[in-house]
Every structure is written in C-alpha cells, then in structure tokens.
Amino acid sequence: MSEISRADVEHLAKLAHIAMTDAELEKMTSELGVIVDSVKQVQEAAGADVPATSHPLPLTNVFREDVVGHVFTAEESLANAPDAEDSRFKVPAILDGE
C-alpha cells in the first residue's frame, strides 16, 4: 500500500492553505496513494549519475536593462481587490508574525 497517510495529507493541505473536510481528506488520501504508487517508478529509472534538467532549453543570462517601465495608479492596482482601504489591500488579521 501507499506510504501516504491521512495525517500526511492533512499536513500537505495545511502547507497548501486549502481547508479540507474529513471526507475530503479521506478521499484525497486514497487517490493520492494510487497516483504516488504509479509515479514511483521514476525513482528506480533515475540513475545517480544522471544530471537533472530544470529548463527544457539551455538559455542562460537573460537580463533586463535597469530602465523604469510602466506602473499602475493605486486605483488600477486595487481594481480587482476583494477589499481595500487607503490605497492599500485590506486583509483580515494575521495571527502568525514572520
């Protein structure tokens, strides 16, 4: 069986900031287990000496000139905001200080 437990999925949902009901957690645990089992074979096929590819084409050093471009007005910035005040985005209280 899969190595993914319900507690794992609960933790992942927390990391991903998705609230889940018990029923959703149960379903996700079993579905994820099946998927993870099916993709596991990549570990065996990937030899230790094989380099990883993060970018499909080998471009390097793509830089921008340090020249100022367009900006939004505060009104434009906030046009789609669910909530705003004083030209700023408004969010509910933050409990956890970084």
């Binding site: 927390k14 793509v62 340090d66 100022v68 471009g69 367009h70 900006v71």
Partner: protein, 505 residues
C-alpha cells in the same frame, strides 16, 4: 514529560561570559539602489503613495513572468568580490514558498543551494584598532516583500483587527549576506556585531550599490545568538532576533541575548529555537514564533528564470573596477594625513572622510581641510539642522577660500563670513569678497593713518613695544581692525608699527 524551564532572570553580562562562550551568526539584507526592481521594470523608490510603484509583475497577477535586472546581478557579484567570496560560475534562482499577504506570489524568488557568491571573509576593525575576521558563508540575490500596516488598537500584529498591504517594496532587489558561525568573540561579541554591520554598510556605500540607510531599512540585520559552556565546542540552541535596524541596536541585542540565554541555561533550562523581536524601548527581545515543521519552504529551481553563468572575464572586469576596501582606505588616509586617532575617529563619525579626501586632493593641506570641515562648516550645518556634506560647500570652494587667506587678501575671520555668504548662495568666495568689498586694507595711506591713530590713543602700549616687548603690538591690532572694519592685515599692521618706532622686524 516534565515542564522544561524556558524563561529565567538574565545573568549579568560579566557572569554570562565567565560561564559561557557566545556563538553568533548574522543574516544581513541589503536593499540595492537600482532604478528598477529585481524582476520587473517598476521603479525601486521609497516613500511614494501606496501601490503606485507596481506593475502586473510586482502584484503577482496571473500570467506574469519575471525578468532579471542585470545591474542587480552585477551588484551582487561586486559585493561578493568585496567580501572576498568565490563567485559561482553557474547559479539559479529558486522559489522559497510560504503564504503571507506581503508576498504577492506566495513565494519569494531567492537562491537556495546555488548562491551567486560563497566562502568569503570580512576583516572588521574594532574601536581599539584590533582586526577580527568574520567568515562569510554566502551572499545571494532575492526580492523584498511588500509592507504590512496593522490596524487596530495596538498598531502591532498581535491584536490587530486587520492589516493593510502596500506592494511598493514588493520586488525590490535584495542581497542577503550570511556569515558562518562566529566563535571566539568572547566579551567583545556585541562590539564585533556592531562593527560587522558597520563594515557591511561601509562596503555597500563604497560600492555605491545601496543607499545603506538603516533607518529606511536599506540594511537590515537578523542576529543569531547561542551559547556553549566554556570549554565545550558543541553549539547550543540559537535564537534569531529579526530586523535589528541600527548598529547600536545590533550591539544591544547581542548583549541582551547573551545575558538571557545564560540566565536560562544557568537555571538548568533550555533555549527555545525561535525568532525574537527587538524592543528598542526596553532594550530587550521578546518571543516571536517558534520554528516549526510549517517552515517547509519547498524550494525548487525557478523555471521562469534561466540560469546565470558568470565567466572569469566578467569577474576580472568587475574586480578591476572595485573601489579600495573601506578599512584599507581608512588606514591609508590616517597615515598620509597625520591626524591623531581621536581626530580621525571624529572625522569618520562626522561622515566627512570623503569631503576631506577630496579637499586634500584638490590642493588643501590635510590640517586645513580638517579645520574647515570639522570647524566652520560643521558649525554652520549644525546651526541649519543639516549634515556638513549636504550644506552645498564643495571641496573646490574650500581650496579657493584658503587660497584667498594665503594670498593675504582676506583673514580668517573674514573667510568665515565669506563662507556663510557662500552657503547663502551669494556666489564664489572671490565674487563675494569683491562684491562686498571685504578685501584686506593694504593700501599704506589708509592703514598708516589707522595705525597712527591707534598709537596716539595707546601711548602705554607704544612704550612697551619701544622697550622691546614686541608681543604688545597685539594690543594695537584690535583698534586698527576696528578702524578698518576688520579688513586690515595683521602682519602689515605690525610692520608699520615697527617701522614707525625704527625697530628692525
């Protein structure tokens, strides 16, 4: 499980150091002074209306992509070189993922296991001239977050009803400099902490890659402190005091954390690995949040940015243009100018090293340059509530003013007046002297008449001089000055007096 003691009365600093050896580590964030942001062409500017220095990239809108600011990369390489680091021939950006409302994509684009600069060191100079070497682990490029304002009764995050977000700072280029653990500092740990941050500030200013204004958060320091019992080499649990934003505060924070840790350890307790916040008013730190497994940042190489490769030629070209390291420069200037240690320290504290150096380069004697900048210019600046360097007096003006004195065209007192008129915008010293008719009176007729009048009114003084007490001439100079409204040349006055009395000068 029994309760573990995690709080206790701090020990005195002396007692703490008798029993424990401090270990420090610093993460210093430097905001670059590029025109645009790290990954977008929106302006990198401070103090504007909220959410107006942003475009679709800074707000993390759907579909947007980052493009690296080439100048920021160059700044990072130059800083790496100034910190004696190796420069990575190949490196990538990575996404550091965590949800926070000041982070528009809910990840910070940073570098993870491939920093652009690594394995360096910085020699910092302490107050008594001793040099302490700080080993640098890495310097990497990343972006700043937006700014949160907490609304509600306290104005702080705790107890706030809601928060407001301004993304103007979102995406401002940062370089994070991480030290290796600093051991062997002993009682000088707080002083080393301050000197290290000060040295970083000097370097980024000398490189002109940052405005380096700590009060604006251009340079921010996270200080890690842990203790190990004397004789042990096993590091203890560390605390991380975040965003200590003045050099004085860095010194005090390290001082306090050493005492706090020692108090807990001495009482048999254990240190919680956590972030702490510096409280300027009480000069203490307070508990932030514990490090937890929630800190799983899920780093992976940023697929939207291609790797950066740095050739040896590029490094060599940037190395060739590096300015002299600030510490070396100070040593050199102190020696060549011949100031005393106290004089030199005052010059540095006043922030006038550059001004004096330039004045000397333009031909003034080091003592003269110091006299003007530390004296009259500083006085004027103080009176006008500004910095000497921002008064608008150029080194060339000082050289010109001093030339007028040396030519005997004005005296010191007049020169000070001329300087003030110059600051008030009346033109160059020569122009002011001409316009205001301030040139010393050297035409013999007027001057001789003034001298004769002074001699006639002060027969006792004349007697003393005639008897050979030449120093007494000084008493005649005052009245002559009064008569000529200060424009007499004191040497000339003396010459005429002696001549009248038939004494050989």
């Amino acid at each position: 499980m029994t309760e573990t003691l995690t709080e206790a009365q701090p020990l005195s600093f002396e007692e703490a150091l008798e029993r424990y050896e401090p270990v420090m580590g610093f993460e210093v964030h430097v905001e670059l002074n590029t025109a645009t942001k790290m990954f977008s062409s929106a302006p990198n500017a401070f103090g504007d209306e909220p959410n107006t220095n942003v475009n679709e990239v800074c707000l993390g809108l759907p579909g947007t992509l980052p493009v690296v600011n080439g100048k920021a990369v160059e700044s990072a390489i130059r800083l790496g070189l100034a910190l004696n680091c190796q420069i990575a021939p190949y490196c990538r950006f990575a996404r550091k993922q965590y949800f926070y409302p000041d982070t528009p994509k809910n990840w910070q684009t940073s570098q993870y296991d491939e920093p652009i600069a690594f394995d360096g060191h910085l020699d910092v100079e302490l107050d008594d001239g001793e040099i302490f070497r700080v080993e640098i682990e890495r310097a990497h490029m990343e972006e700043d977050a937006g700014k949160l304002t907490h609304a509600g009764t306290s104005g702080r995050i705790q107890g706030a009803e809601y928060s407001l977000v301004d993304y103007n700072r979102s995406g401002v280029p940062l370089i994070e400099i991480v030290t290796k653990p600093i051991t062997g500092a002993g009682e000088r740990a707080p002083e080393i902490a301050r000197a290290y941050v000060s040295a970083i500030r000097d370097i980024v200013k000398a490189l002109d890659i940052s405005d380096a204004r700590m009060e604006r958060g251009n340079v921010r320091c996270d200080a890690n402190v842990s203790l190990m019992p004397k004789g042990s080499s096993r590091f203890g649990t560390r605390s991380e005091t975040k965003n200590v934003n003045s050099m004085r505060a860095v010194e005090h924070a390290v001082h306090y954390e050493i005492r706090r840790h020692a108090g807990i350890l001495a009482a048999g307790g254990s240190i919680v690995q956590e972030t702490r916040h510096w409280q300027e008013t009480t000069r203490t730190t307070s508990s932030g949040r514990p490090k937890s497994d929630a800190d799983d940042y899920r780093y992976f190489p940023e697929p939207d940015l291609v790797p950066v490769t740095v050739t040896e030629e590029w490094v060599a070209a940037l190395r060739a243009e590096l300015p002299e390291p600030p510490a070396e420069r100070r040593r050199r200037l102190r020696q060549s100018w011949g100031y005393t240690d106290a004089e030199f320290r005052d010059v540095i504290a006043a922030g006038l090293l550059d001004a004096i150096e330039e004045t000397v380069e333009q031909g003034a004697a080091p003592a003269v340059a110091r006299k003007w900048w530390m004296g009259e210019i500083s006085r004027l600046a103080n009176a006008r509530d500004t910095e000497p360097a921002e008064l608008g007096v150029s080194p060339a003006t000082i050289v010109e003013l001093n030339g007028l004195i040396e030519q005997g065209r004005i005296n010191d007192k007049i020169a000070r007046q001329v300087l003030e008129h110059h600051v008030d915008g009346e033109g160059s010293p020569a122009e002011i002297v001409a316009a205001r008719g301030l040139e010393v009176v050297s035409d013999d007729g007027a001057l001789t008449a003034a001298v004769e009048k002074a001699m006639a009114e002060n027969p006792d003084v004349v007697e003393k001089v005639a008897a050979g007490k030449l120093k007494a001439i000084g008493a005649l100079i005052g009245p002559v000055m009064k008569e000529t409204r200060g424009q007499a040349d004191a040497g000339k006055v003396r010459e005429i007096v002696l001549q009248k009395l038939g004494i050989e000068g």
